[in-house]
């Protein structure tokens, strides 16, 4: 199948952002900010970078994608549906009783979800385990982990970074959603990260950076990361709530879903932005 070009990827990302707004307003709760902020990266991953066959979610040759900051799962659910993992209509069931689309991802409940997440810091360790297994099995796929800047408050994450360096896991790429915001406020106020680049470098990782909304640059950075023979962190500079003016960079939208009026306004903006 032909892979979409940059113009087409932008259209897909816009559609996914609309999906997210529609899902969250129906659910009545959920995390809008981070989901919208990571939409461009998820779009590039599933429509351009990942080696995967949506009809075969357990294919052993697939690249693995671990969502460690599980609260932004609406963007993953919408992207999986748009990529063909399951029917779009399921998106309406987000956070409802007996739904496959749990409030935080649950392995086994939905095709394409590799792990269960929610408590921060746990995904990267599991990604390290998967990367080690791939090495032992002499498999060639990559393990992509998505984590957030606020998540770097968790000690477990740094434990995992040390292990990844020790075992020189060149098949592991950690994409950091760096929007400067966490649930209670700005990361610089809650817990300053100082130079994330220097920290990663001190932990023996290669560091790349990208604007998290520049499709062309995201592709270039991810492709470069795949060629590096040691663990790579991609610091993705993102805007929380990207694409919806009244949500952008407002930490109150970290854990919030829009009401009907806000959703209508957001959709109008997004449709206009198309």
């Amino acid at each position: 199948m032909r892979k979409p070009d940059i113009r087409e990827l932008k259209i897909i990302a816009n559609t996914i952002r609309q999906d997210i707004i529609r899902m969250l307003v129906l659910a009545g709760s959920g995390h809008a900010g981070g989901s919208l902020g990571m939409t461009d990266i998820f779009t590039v991953l599933y429509f351009k970078i990942l080696k995967h066959i949506p009809e075969q979610p357990n294919n052993p040759y697939r690249d693995r994608l671990i969502l460690s900051n599980g609260h932004i799962c609406p963007v993953q659910y919408a992207t999986l549906a748009r990529a063909g993992y399951f029917p779009l209509v399921k998106l309406k069931s987000l956070r409802k009783i007996n739904s496959q689309l749990q409030g935080h991802p649950h392995r086994g409940s939905l095709p394409g979800i590799e792990t269960s997440s929610g408590p921060l810091g746990q995904g990267i360790s599991q990604a390290v385990g998967m990367a080690l297994a791939a090495k032992m099995n002499k498999q060639n796929h990559h393990i992509f982990c998505i984590s957030s800047d606020g998540e770097h408050n968790e000690g477990q994450l740094w434990e995992a970074l040390m292990t990844a360096h020790k075992y020189q896991l060149g098949n592991l790429i950690n994409i950091v959603d760096y929007n400067g915001i966490q649930i209670d406020g700005y990361t610089k106020d809650i817990m300053p990260l100082l130079s994330l680049r220097k920290k990663y470098e001190a932990f023996g990782w290669e560091v790349l950076e990208t604007n998290g909304h520049d499709i062309k640059n995201i592709i270039k950075t991810l492709e470069k990361a795949k060629t590096i023979k040691r663990p790579v962190a991609i610091i993705a500079h993102t805007i929380l709530g990207k694409g919806v003016s009244f949500m952008e960079n407002k930490y109150s939208w970290h854990g919030l879903a829009p009401n009907k009026e806000e959703a209508a306004k957001a959709l109008k903006e997004l449709q206009h932005g198309k």
Binding site: S116, P119, G129, M130, G155, Q156
Partner: protein, 319 residues
């Protein structure tokens, strides 16, 4: 069935040694078996495995939270990881990782805890895992095992490897009597009657069970026949065997090197109170921390040795 091995101290072996031997056997038998260590390979007896199968040995350093995450990732890719540490650290320090990464995903990880119970001895309270059963027994999808001696720990380890799904396996540091026989296969969910009896049921776990055997021998001299049950499978609990025994005897004692809250005694109390209410004495550590000392001294101080079992048995028999 109790083996006839003469209980000379020089014949004793630790449950952790039983685990170590089983791991060597598993390393040879199953190429998917891997060991994850948090800087306690020697103490948890996985060093021989590490030497022989170094390509399947992952050392993550003193990082128990990460250890369980790494083990989960390995398990989700088809490996059978044994994540090894002391009970106070794992599951003591990494319960959230156990709950969400492993149990919620039903990842095929074996969580291995050595140095459980007061019997850790001189290291003192910080290193004596007395709450581990309580915090594992409540987790969905998790099997909880506490074998009694060297032989049974070996068998339980092999059974854990065969079981598809997460297993928590607790054992101890110190050398202890060997009283189970290797011919009996270890079946998860099955208790074993070590000594048949009709007057009182004594249900125990771990090396402390030997005190129950000693108590039964003393009680027999008084004409009282105690039925001794090894409930090494704490979850699933063998309700059938326990209920049949208590139906016959009408009273029960539970015995464990663990807090009385949330452990084996609680599991038996949950069962009996709902299916067959009968007088029950729960013997364990009574809402306290341990301290330094020899294993036997600590068991004595916490009134877990056979003279105390006999006292409680006689009291229950008057009811």
């Amino acid at each position: 069935m109790v083996s006839n091995i003469k209980q000379q101290k020089n014949n004793w072996r630790s449950t952790r040694d039983g685990f170590g031997e089983a791991m060597l056997e598993l390393g040879k038998k199953n190429k998917e078996v891997v060991v994850v260590s948090a800087d306690l390979a020697e103490s948890t007896r996985v060093q021989p495995f590490a030497k022989k199968y170094h390509e399947r040995f992952i050392e993550v350093g003193v990082a128990e939270q990460n250890m369980l995450g790494v083990a989960t990732g390995l398990a989700l890719e088809g490996k059978i990881p044994f994540a090894t540490s002391f009970g106070v650290f794992s599951p003591g320090r990494n319960w959230d990782q156990l709950r969400v990464s492993i149990c919620y995903s039903r990842a095929n990880v074996k969580i291995i805890a050595s140095h459980t119970g007061l019997s850790v001895g001189p290291d003192g309270a910080s290193h004596q895992a007395l709450e581990d059963i309580a915090i594992t027994r409540c987790l969905p999808n998790l099997v909880v095992l506490a074998p009694a001696d060297f032989n049974e720990t070996k068998m339980a380890t092999l059974a854990a490897a065969k079981h598809q799904g997460p297993v928590y396996l607790r054992f101890a540091r110190q050398a202890s009597p060997i009283f189970t026989v290797t011919k009996q296969t270890f079946i998860i969910g099955r208790a074993k009657i070590l000594i048949p009896g009709k007057d009182i049921t004594i249900i125990g776990i771990g090396p402390l069970l030997y005190e129950a055997i000693l108590a039964a021998r003393e009680l027999a001299k008084k004409g009282i026949r105690a039925e001794i049950i090894n409930s090494s499978s704490i979850k699933p609990l063998d309700a059938k065997t326990i209920l049949a025994s208590v139906k016959k005897t009408g009273r029960a004692i539970t015995l464990e090197d663990h807090q009385i809250h949330g452990g084996l005694g609680s599991a038996v109390a949950e069962l009996l109170s709902q299916s067959l209410p009968r007088p029950l004495k729960i013997m364990g550590v009574s809402d306290q921390f341990g301290q330094s000392g020899q294993a036997e001294e600590l068991w004595e101080k916490h009134q877990l040795t056979h003279p105390y079992i006999i006292q409680h048995a006689l009291k229950l028999l008057k009811k």
